[in-house]
Every structure is written in C-alpha cells, then in structure tokens.
C-alpha cells in the first residue's frame, strides 16, 4: 500500500461557503487544508484597507476559518495552507495567533509567513531599472498608468511554502501565491519531489487546478446531467489523495452531497483554460492534453499520465490601477409588452442623458429575461416574457457624470413607460473601477522570504 497524502479544498474564493473548512477537517481524514482567497483584483481592495489601517490588508474571513478548524489543527495535526495574507501576511499571521491565544492554544500554532511577492514599494526602482511591466495583451508600458497604480504583486510558486512546511509550520500564510501552488506544495514537500521533476510537479499543479474552485469539481455549477446531482445542500468539497508517483484521486468525504465523476472533473479542467498545452506557472509548465481520467469507484476519479516541462524565466505580475467610475441600475417592466416598454424606457433615458450633455466612455443596455446574456442567440422568446428587467450601465472618467446618471433612472417610474416596478433599492451606487493590468517580470528580481512565527 503506497502512502497517500490528502489535501482538502476548503475555500474556492473569498466569499465561498463559510461551512466548508470545518466540514473538510471534521468529515474524514485529511492531512492538509488548502484555502484560496485571492482573485485578480482582490489585492487592490486589500491594499486600500491597508492604507487606512496598517494592521489590515488580508482576508479577514480566514481568521474565522482558522477558529473553526483549530481543534483539528492542534489535536490531529492537520496543516493549513492559505493565500489569505493578501498584501499583509505578517498582520494576518498575528491575527490568527491572537485567535489561537484566545482559544487557549497559544504556542501550538507555528505560522509560516511567506513574503516577497509585493512589488509596490519597489515599483519605481524596478521601472527605473528598465522593467517596463508592459500589459500582457496590449503591450503598453506601465508608465502610462503608474500614477494610478494601487497594488502590484508577483505570482509566486510552491518553493517558499515547501520551505515553511520543512521548517515546521502547521499553518502557512502567503500573499499572491498561485492558487495551484497551495495544493502542489504539500505534495512536493511530503513526497520530496525534486525541483526539476517536471511531470510530478505538473501533476501537483493540475491537482490544484481541479480543487482550487472548491465544489466546482464536485457537483457545483455542473451542467452535465445536473438534475441528478444529489443533495447539493450538503455538497462535499473536493479532496486530492496524492501518491508519490504523481498520480492522484479526486474524491470527497462519505455522506456528503454532490458528485465526483469524469464529467464533473472534466468541466473543472476546462474552466478558465487558455492554451491547454502550456499552463504556465512559476514552478512548471503543465500540459493539460496529457491528463488521463478514469472513474475509480463512486465519487472517485483517478488522474494520471500528466506531463510537464521547465517553466519560463518570468513571473506574472498582478497590477491593479484606478480606471474611472461606473454605475449600473435597473427597473422591471411587466406584461403586456414588457420588452417593448423596456426598450422605450431605454430610448427615453438615453435621450435625457444626451440632452444633459453627459458624456461616458461606454453605455450598455441589457434586457434581462429577453437577451442579456445570449444576445440575438436567445431568439424572440423575450417578446412574450411576463417581465423584463431593463438594466443599464455607464462608465467614464468623470465621476460627476456617472453620479448624475444614477439620478435619471428612478424618475422613469413616474415619467416613463407604464407597468414598471422593481425600484425599491433606489438609485444605484457609483463605484470606482479598479482595473487589472497583467504583466511579466524577470524571476531573478523577486526574492521570497519565509519566517516562522
């Protein structure tokens, strides 16, 4: 019997099910709990929080998650790996140490803190040294938006997490680690995979890709035969059972709902996929066309055959910058002729915006219930819809214009087309747009550090 290392996914994004981490450590045997908190623009939100309070800037949900799994961490030796540190991993570590202290477990947590991904303090020097940080899609140098940059973080890989585990951490807190490294690192650490063991490292990355979105591989958001997926109210989050040879099984705890089968895992494998032959990470390039799947029992899918190759000499950098303002509002028009009334409302509103002389970079109208998501592909069914939501949004650099737009929607209830409702929420909020700027930087300029607290 070969040794098995179990890595459980307890959070697919910041805002995911609060019950999941506890259910994962209490529902059966697991060795590691992996929690992914960071999406593309999360770092900028956290940066704003840190500017207001230097003790903030991390995913505060993680403190509650740690409290809920603390008994398992202390009594059963489950280790936790999370990128909850955001732009302030040391503050995050201090917060969970304080929570452990309150629970009478001071001294039982050894928190590994991974830093070095935050490039914001070094940004001007890096640019002066010739790092253009050009936008990966447009090629525009970062200098064009430098004065509006809110955060800049390199995506870092598994190496510092492995080091933290080697030095005895039972909780590892990182900043902008890749989502997949959170799963690959414990497998690499436990099995002693070498740093050029490309096929096994790639397998660890693909294991991470499968479970990084939580229940999205175990029956959640699964289109295949969706009516027959059992007991979603009690859905089981996924667990990877890793083997030394790089093969693994995706499963979930007994007695939980959802379903893990070849179709559910396949749907997650193609999620957010680019070129499947080159899934680039800091550790390895994984080839998704090499993956083999087979059903290995009820709610068990075996994954094998994975190939990888050496990574590039760059790291991706996630940069967020201010890019104007937006607001989106809506009203609901009702039978008879719901869509026709909504279309008239749109013409009336646009004419008023025009007469006010308001200028926007973009105005977008959608008719929810008729064509909002599928456009003309939805056909004519919307003409007979019992109700249609008229949804209109604007964006632009002029905050006052966007603000004025938000005042023009609700008046339509009394001075526009009839049979209208759905305005109870009042006028919409103006939001500052924090846009995403992906770039590349030489690996050699990013040095990570690990501290055990």
């Amino acid at each position: 019997m070969t040794r098995i290392v179990r890595v459980a996914s307890g959070q697919g994004f910041w805002g995911d099910w609060l019950e999941a981490p506890r259910r994962q450590v209490e529902g059966g045997p697991v060795d590691y709990l992996m929690l992914d908190y960071l999406a593309e623009v999360t770092m900028s939100i956290l940066q704003k929080q840190k500017e207001r309070d230097p003790n903030m800037g991390y995913a505060r949900d993680f403190v509650g998650a740690m409290e809920s799994v603390l008994p398992a961490v202390i009594a059963r030796g489950v280790r936790v790996i999370a990128n909850a540190g955001g732009v302030n991993p040391p503050a995050c570590a201090a917060a969970i140490r304080a929570a452990a202290g309150k629970a009478g477990a001071a001294g039982k947590l050894h928190v590994g803190v991974v830093t070095g991904d935050d490039l914001l303090p070094r940004l001007d020097q890096l640019m002066a040294d010739g790092h253009a940080l050009a936008h990966m899609e447009t090629g525009t140098p970062l200098a064009s938006v430098r004065d509006r940059v809110l955060s800049a973080n390199a995506y870092i890989g598994s190496t510092p997490i492995v080091e933290a585990l080697r030095r005895g951490a039972n909780v590892v807190v990182t900043g902008r680690s890749t989502d997949t490294a959170l799963t690959m690192a414990p497998l690499r650490f436990e099995f002693g995979w070498g740093d050029t063991d490309w096929n096994r490292l790639a397998a660890g990355i693909i294991a991470g890709h499968i479970i990084e979105c939580g229940a999205q591989c175990s029956g959640g958001n699964c289109l295949h035969d969706w009516r027959s997926i059992p007991d979603l109210a009690n859905v089981g989050y996924p667990i990877v059972e890793g083997h030394e040879d790089g093969t693994f099984v995706v499963t979930k705890h007994p007695g939980t709902g959802g379903r893990i089968d070849v179709p559910s895992v396949s749907e997650q494998l193609v999620y957010e996929m680019g070129d499947p032959h080159s899934y680039i990470t800091p550790d390895v390039i994984a080839d998704f066309s090499s993956i083999r799947l087979e059903q290995a029992g009820e709610n068990r899918v075996r994954v094998f055959g994975i190939q990888g190759r050496a990574p590039t000499d760059k790291l991706k950098v996630s940069i967020a910058y201010r890019d104007g303002y937006k607001a989106v509002g809506s009203l609901v028009y009702v039978w008879p002729d719901a869509l026709e009334k909504a279309e008239l409302a749109d013409r009336v509103l646009r004419e008023r915006l025009d007469r006010l002389g308001l200028r926007f970079d973009h105005i977008l109208t959608e008719f929810v219930g008729a064509s909002a998501t599928h456009g003309r592909l939805a056909g004519d069914a919307g003409r007979n819809a019992p109700e249609v939501q008229f949804r209109i949004g604007v964006r632009g650099q002029d905050r006052a214009a966007v603000e004025r737009f938000t005042r023009e929607i609700v008046p339509l209830v009394l001075n526009g087309p009839p049979s209208v409702t759905g305005f109870a929420a009042g006028r919409p909020k103006v939001e500052e747009i924090v846009a995403y700027w992906p770039a590349l930087i030489d690996k050699t300029v990013v040095q990570t550090a690990v501290e055990i607290l």
Binding site: E267, Y271, M273, D323, T373, L377
Partner: protein, 118 residues
C-alpha cells in the same frame, strides 16, 4: 439531420481578461470526432458574430474528448471594467450549446445522434 450541440456535449466557460473561454466536452467519446470536424473556430466565430469583438481560437483535447475555444473581446473589457450581467463569461457555455448543425443522415444514424427536431 439537424442536431443541437446541447444534445451532443456539455460545457463550462470562464474568463481571462476580456477573453471568455468555453470548454466543450462530448457526451459520448464516439461523438468527439464529429465535434472536431464540424465545430471549427470559424463556425463558432460565426455563431457569436455581433456578440464578440475579436477572433476565436480553438484547441483540441482528445484525452478529455473536449475542445477549448477562446472568444476574444467577449466581455465588454472584462473583469471590473465590464458593465455586462455576465462580466465573467460564465454562461457563454450554454450560448455555444445553442448551435445547431447538419449531419448527413447516414452518419447521424451510425452515431445514434439525437435529432434537433425531435
């Protein structure tokens, strides 16, 4: 015979910047070659004409009986910039599954394809 992609495949979609990806997975392995032949990047680009501003790329994953499509310029700028309900491209998947295409009757019968016309 006319067949609906919805009856031949399942799908999931997501985003990367202003690009949506749609992964299409054959419901039966023996239907995958038909998808490879008929569900070309050009055909998908035609299906989404007027809904996306950029081109369409296609990648094959025979191991998963899947095709991956990248729809460029699909998300009104993408991410936080987008004003769309589906800013993250989550339901381009079923929009693609609306596609209907013709298969010669003999081949449709051999593959036991379900007809779009019942």
């Amino acid at each position: 015979m006319r067949v609906r992609l919805l009856d031949l495949a399942h799908a999931r979609s997501g985003d990367k910047g202003d690009t949506a990806n749609v992964g299409v997975i054959a419901l039966k392995p023996e239907w995958y070659p038909l998808l490879v032949e008929d569900l070309t990047a050009d055909r998908v680009a035609g299906h989404f004409r007027g809904l996306i501003t950029g081109g369409v790329e296609r990648f094959e994953l025979p191991n998963l009986h899947a095709l991956n499509f990248l729809l460029h310029g699909a998300l009104d700028g993408g991410g936080t910039l987008s004003l769309k309900t589906d800013a993250q491209g989550k339901v381009y998947s079923t929009a693609l599954l609306r596609l209907v295409f013709d298969v010669p009757d003999a081949r449709a019968a051999a593959l036991r394809l379900p007809s779009a016309d019942g």
